[in-house]
């Protein structure tokens, strides 16, 4: 049965987070992400869970990481200027293998840019924020339903891989109000970090803070306050969590931080593939521009043209295999995104050897369906 309501993307992120078991939120106001902050204050406080105002974005994320080390699922929300402050703590979470979800609602940059103007210009800023170039999983919703479900997915990913995960929205997806059918929402099963075990009595002889045999393994989580001692550091460390210079085991841990993400990437791929047999054009897009893409596909097909399209909802790790498979038979790839350079196009275009790759790019306003349709052959 239909259960219709009007909601914003920001509200659906908050509801998705609570449905995913998020019990801790620390926030700092920033347009266009403040709706998530407000939503989490309302939802968590009425449940007796913790939603708190932080004095800045550095504190907001640090509070979340501390709460996660204690064993609870946390989230914070920000926009580009706040993300700039958070990158120190994002790296700390990555290094200490602490799950955390950061919802980043993009606005026009650089610097304080345009607070109430949409943009999709933070993609590379988000992905390449670490010293060492580690992969940050990034999910990117374009609809209210995707806001809800990808938030859930982001928590699953953060918990299962024990790593910071970014939920990348933009002003238009976050703040635009639209019709949602709650009867149609999928709430997948809760996923918690692996083996959240409190050891009691005799301790297992060789259990260490970051125990893994294979680099791609995700070690069992040890909570601060449990019976097993936590040894955590943002500095290079061995599997016991002890600060070390580059001995073999310490380097093994550093390789492991990347391997565990790429090895499990398949599990967290989300693509909305709309393939039409015989189509020469394949359009790729994400976030708000994926909505213009879907409209242009509708219009093109109504006009008798054949066209395929992919709404990429898990941007990183890049789902190369699925993208190249979907491009088979196409001669033209169009990558549509609301930024100046074609940020995602730059990342993916090298895999399309047999096709012409074109970008639809601009800043300052949403890309329109017509701007995409012009390039469909």
């Amino acid at each position: 049965m239909q259960k219709l309501q009007l909601r914003s993307g920001n509200q659906m992120v908050a509801e998705g987070a609570v449905a995913a078991g998020c019990r801790f939120f620390a926030g700092y106001p920033i347009t266009p992400a403040s709706g998530i902050y407000k939503g989490m204050i309302d939802l968590l406080q009425q449940r007796g869970d913790l939603a708190v105002s932080a004095p800045d974005e550095i504190s907001a994320l640090a509070y979340c990481v501390g709460a996660s080390m204690r064993g609870f699922k946390p989230m914070t929300a920000t926009s580009g200027p706040g993300w700039a402050l958070m990158t120190e703590t994002v790296q700390y979470a990555l290094m200490t293998e602490t799950p955390v979800v950061i919802a980043l609602v993009q606005r026009l940059g650089p610097s304080t840019g345009g607070a109430t103007q949409g943009a999709q210009g933070d993609l590379l800023f988000v992905e390449y924020c670490t010293s060492g170039g580690y992969t940050i999983p990034v999910f990117c919703p374009s609809t209210l339903r995707e806001c809800y479900e990808l938030t859930h997915r982001a928590f699953s990913c953060a918990e299962e891989l024990r790593t910071p995960v970014v939920l990348l929205l933009d002003k238009e997806v976050g703040m635009t109000v639209a019709r949602i059918d709650y009867g149609d929402l999928q709430t997948p099963a809760l996923v918690n970090r692996p083996a959240n075990v409190e050891y009691r009595g005799s301790l297992p002889g060789k259990q260490r803070m970051y125990e893994f045999a294979d680099r791609s393994e995700v070690p069992a989580f040890v909570p601060v306050g449990g019976r097993m001692k936590v040894t955590a550091t943002g500095s290079a460390h061995n599997k016991s969590g002890e600060l070390k210079k580059n001995d073999d085991e310490t380097l093994d841990v550093l390789y492991h931080l990347e391997s565990k993400i790429t090895a499990h990437a398949d599990k967290f791929k989300v693509l909305g593939i709309d393939r039409e047999e015989g189509a020469a054009t394949l359009i790729l897009s994400y976030g708000i521009t994926a909505r213009a893409m879907r409209e242009s596909v509708y219009l093109a097909r109504a006009g008798g043209k054949k066209v395929s399209a992919i709404n990429v909802q898990s941007l990183f790790p890049v789902p190369y295999r699925e993208l190249t498979a979907a491009a088979e038979g196409a001669s033209r790839i169009i990558v549509a995104e609301e930024n100046m350079q074609g940020q995602y196009r730059q990342v993916i275009e090298h895999v399309f050897r047999a096709q012409e790759v074109l970008g639809v790019n601009k800043i300052g306003s949403m890309i329109t369906p017509e701007e995409i349709s012009r390039l469909i052959i």
């Binding site: 869970d49 004095p55 640090a62 501390g66 609870f72 700390y92 109430t116 709430t187 936590v230 040894t231």
Partner: protein, 467 residues
């Protein structure tokens, strides 16, 4: 690993090889900390040391029985605050969290100290102030005394040192003590700070023997006089504001509840259809339409547009709403872009508006500034207040005295009512039901005179109808 219970004290650092230079004050502090924890007989699994960057951050390895979290520079107090908030509110536990931070970390992370004090979280901060950055070669810090010679103040420091204890008292911290690393009663001071329920900070003034002593001809017995020369008092410095720690206040206001609401409902446990916009009528609309509502801040433009979108859903349509206003939200224009459609709306923008409803001068100015008028087609309609001077346009124009008849805060609703009456995109009654839902039982949103005005509307009402 946690040692077996029969060990005398799991905290003793007496026999540890200290990773510090000879005579370093940090060694004194950590011995006193070990003794204090031993005296308190705390379960080691319920103690967490959160250490900052710098020499004092090497303490982790000296406390193998307790949880240790070594953090980024200055942020130790913020991570500790997060651990404590989750521990006390969500886990309902009593973890003892102790931050070890230097004077360098205290300044880069000053706001975390201030906020922890303001929140009054149950965290203890031991601030080891040796007047400089020791690990990186003895650079001056915000805590360096006047005339202090360091690698980066070779002719003597000319900036007065921060009195962190005063800052903490001003931030309503209730347990603030300044002490010397050599104080005999430092153990009991630390034990009291750790036992204190709420935020506590102990500033421990000490010597960096490697970088602090030689150029300044400094010895341990001069520390007190150096601090006092800057007006910094020793001993307990009380804040006056007696108040409970954060978690007990929070949990008192927001007690934990067992029931979990399903998504879509902000409150209540019933999966009631009252919480949803169940369609009650239908619409003959056969395509997507874009409607712009332009008015002034504080005149309910955006909230009225929201009710319009709700009414569209009640008429089994899809609807979207995008708002715009100046950066300051309480003044200037207020703008809503509404799309309604019989099928799902993918693109939420409006390239060429089907209708523009303008109900104030601010709204008219912004509509012109956004370049909306030149794009209007002859099929489009402009519905505006009678007082406004609408520029030349190909669209059909209808002007009615919305503001004078209905008042400024109902002008947007009046304009949208006129739109629905003329177009019948969906029944105007659905919109009026949504409006009446906000006015309370027995009252109608519009006065009878406006309903009569609506009833008289027809295609011939447009000023340029015959064109």
């Amino acid at each position: 690993m946690i040692p077996p219970a029969e060990t005398a004290s799991p905290y003793s650092v007496e026999h540890c090889a200290m990773p510090f230079c000879k005579g370093c004050g940090h060694a004194h502090v950590l011995r006193h900390l070990g003794e204090a924890l031993g005296q308190l007989h705390l379960d080691p699994s319920k103690v967490c040391l959160v250490t900052d960057i710098g020499c004092i951050g090497l303490a982790d390895s000296l406390f193998p029985a307790v949880h240790t979290v070594h953090t980024t520079h200055g942020r130790s107090t913020a991570f500790a605050t997060g651990i404590e908030l989750a521990d006390a509110v969500l886990a309902d536990s009593k973890l003892k969290i102790i931050v070890l931070i230097g004077d360098g970390g205290a300044m880069i992370g000053l706001l975390h100290l201030v906020n922890a004090a303001l929140l009054n979280v149950d965290v203890t901060v031991l601030l080891c102030n040796n007047f400089l950055f020791g690990m990186t070669g003895g650079q001056n810090s915000a805590f360096s005394p006047l005339d202090f010679v360091t690698a980066t103040s070779p002719k003597g420091n000319i900036v007065p040192p921060l009195d962190i204890c005063n800052v903490m008292v001003d931030a309503h911290a209730r347990f603030v003590v300044r002490s010397l690393a050599t104080d005999k009663n430092l153990t009991s001071t630390i034990a009291q700070a750790v036992s204190f329920e709420g935020f506590s900070l102990v500033e421990i003034v000490e010597l960096c023997t490697e970088y602090g002593t030689k150029k300044n001809q400094l010895s341990g017995n001069q520390l007190r006089s150096i601090a006092e020369r800057h007006g910094q008092r020793f001993g307990e410095l009380h804040g006056t504001n007696d108040r409970p720690e954060f978690a007990s206040l929070y949990s008192g206001k927001f007690p934990p509840v067992q029931s979990v609401h399903p998504p879509g409902r902000s409150n209540g446990n019933e999966d009631s259809l009252d919480n949803f916009l169940t369609p009650t009528c239908s619409s003959s609309l056969d395509r997507k339409k874009g409607i712009i509502v332009a008015g002034s801040a504080g005149e309910r433009v955006q909230s009225t547009a929201h009710l319009f979108c709700q009414a569209a859903v009640r008429a089994a349509l899809y609807s979207t709403q995008k708002n715009d206003n100046p950066v300051t939200q309480g003044t200037g224009f207020s703008f809503s872009e509404i799309c309604i459609s019989p099928r799902e709306i993918w693109y939420t923008g409006i390239e060429r508006a089907d209708a523009v409803i303008i109900v104030s001068e601010d709204g008219l100015r912004e509509t012109s500034a956004k370049g909306i008028f030149p794009k209007l087609t002859p099929e489009a309609i402009v519905i505006a207040d009678s007082e406004l001077k609408i520029p030349e346009t190909r669209a059909r124009v209808l002007q009615l005295p919305f503001r004078s008849t209905c008042g400024a805060v109902k002008a947007a609703a009046a304009g949208l009512s006129a739109y629905l009456t003329l177009t019948d995109d969906f029944p105007v009654s659905a919109f009026h039901e949504a409006l009446n839902g906000k006015t309370g039982a027995g009252k109608t949103f519009f006065a009878e005179s406006f309903h009569l005005m609506l009833d008289s509307l027809c295609p011939a009402s447009f000023a340029n109808a015959g064109r």
